[in-house]
């Protein structure tokens, strides 16, 4: 097959943003189309180069074709919609029932979420998986945030000589866990971004809202020790906010067009963040609402920025062209 066709198929693939198996099947189907088309043209006496050029021209623009394929595959089933909304619903129920603080129920729910995430990750990364990953990362942030006092003590000691140095073993434990957590979060985000940055945005939407809540709870007392009424005062609003995020995910997976998906994420998550901020921080003015919306827009665009640096395509997909040739090439054309 001529380099023009290979390059054209590569262009389509780079814009597909679907799961690797589907991408491979699509490119395989198009590869067989070009094989047949070029062979047929050659039988009419056209040379291979000209036949390839004509075949590409009659196929259409690579970006448009990739967009049509994306729209054909991007709409999830109702089962996918249920699955993508489920982690939001589970955590919303934890808040609504004030059980997020329960030392058995809360860890059980997070173990379940992490288990489903790992199952989905190792079984082809279905489209519903990404909201589960977001909640799986939250306990890492929670532990990191709670244990911040130990590196804080070290910084105070080194710069101002005020605090006492923590024990070496606790410092080693905290620093090594920070390194491991950061590695897991960055690595997971990059892997998701390489599949499709918009899925990474979907994955990350609960984190700023949960982060704001955690900050407020910590201001009112230690999240692990204090179980009084004070730290449960935002449970209702958090349950409501996570329910909206669940609906956002559901809307996201049922839409076909990419731009509409992203707009749905930005608009609904901005509304949710504003509602939470209003309840957590008191009355916020018009400009604060605008600032929150801009923050959410920029936050959700970070994965797009990361994609521009790391590129598209999952690990092992560099050899896609050899795989296609092995799987789909004829022996006599």
């Amino acid at each position: 097959m001529l380099t023009e066709v290979i390059s054209y198929l590569h262009q389509i693939k780079s814009h597909l943003r679907l799961d690797p198996t589907t991408e491979k099947q699509i490119i395989g189907e198009l590869y067989t189309h070009f094989q047949e088309k070029v062979s047929e043209q050659q039988r009419f006496g056209i040379n291979e180069k000209e036949a390839s050029r004509q075949a590409i021209k009659s196929f259409g623009q690579a970006k448009t074709i990739a967009r049509l394929f994306y729209e054909a595959h991007s709409k999830g089933s109702w089962m996918d919609a249920l699955m993508i909304g489920l982690p939001h619903l589970m955590v919303a129920i934890l808040f609504a029932s004030h059980l997020w603080h329960h030392y058995v129920v809360a860890p059980l729910v997070f173990i379940l979420i992490v288990s489903v995430t790992l199952f989905g990750w190792w079984s082809g990364k279905p489209s519903w998986l990404y909201s589960w990953i977001g909640y799986s990362l939250f306990p890492l942030l929670l532990v990191g945030y709670i244990s911040r006092s130990i590196p804080g003590q070290v910084i105070s000691f080194l710069f101002w000589g005020e605090a006492m140095l923590p024990s070496l073993w606790s410092l080693t434990l905290v620093i090594s866990s920070y390194i491991i957590y950061t590695w897991i979060i960055v690595r997971t985000t990059i892997r998701v971004v390489k599949r499709d940055w918009i899925l990474a945005s979907l994955m990350l939407i609960p984190l700023p809202i949960l982060g704001c809540w955690l900050y407020n709870v910590e201001q009112s007392g230690n999240v692990l020790i204090n179980s009084g009424v004070v730290i449960h005062q935002w449970d209702g609003i958090m349950a409501f906010a996570l329910l909206i995020l669940g609906i956002t995910s559901l809307v996201f997976i049922r839409l076909r067009q990419r731009i509409i998906k992203f707009l749905a994420l930005v608009i609904l998550s901005s509304i949710t963040f504003t509602i939470v901020a209003h309840n957590l921080w008191g009355d916020i003015g018009f400009f604060s609402v605008i600032a929150l919306a801009i923050f959410m827009l920029l936050y959700l665009l970070i994965p797009a920025l990361v994609e521009s640096r790391v590129g598209h395509g999952e690990k092992g997909s560099d050899n896609w062209w050899q795989d296609i040739q092995i799987d789909y090439h004829s022996t006599t054309t």
Partner: protein, 117 residues
């Protein structure tokens, strides 16, 4: 002057690609993308020349909607091809859409050339 045919025809085709493909697959029993492209061109005597690349996403959409079923077959020369067949749900949708299409074209023709009472 702009070419009206080059603007109007793609619009007409875009809205009816799925019914064209479903009808072809249903009639041919089992067929593949390139064969359908050639068959549309042959049957329409070259009038319907859609961008070939738009056929494959349309086939995928029909499959994801459950109206067709695709399967890979290996040819004697080792090449693999994806063949499509209409499902029972696809047949029901096709029957409904064909009936609507026939009523629609009849109504449009009546508007263009009304029956003199």
């Amino acid at each position: 002057m702009r070419n009206i045919q080059s603007e109007y025809l793609p619009d007409l085709l875009r809205g009816n690609t799925d019914i064209l493909l479903l009808s072809l697959i249903d009639e041919m029993g089992s067929t593949y993308g390139y064969q359908m492209i050639k068959e549309i061109e042959r049957r329409s005597r070259g009038f319907l020349q859609c961008k070939e690349g738009t056929i494959y996403p349309a086939l995928r959409k029909l499959e994801n909607d459950g109206f067709t079923k695709g399967e890979w077959r290996v040819l004697p020369n080792g090449q693999r091809r994806r063949y499509y067949q209409v499902t029972s749900s696809g047949q029901r949708v096709l029957a409904k859409k064909l009936a609507i299409w026939q009523e629609f074209t009849a109504a449009v023709n009546l508007v263009f050339k009304p029956i003199k009472s």
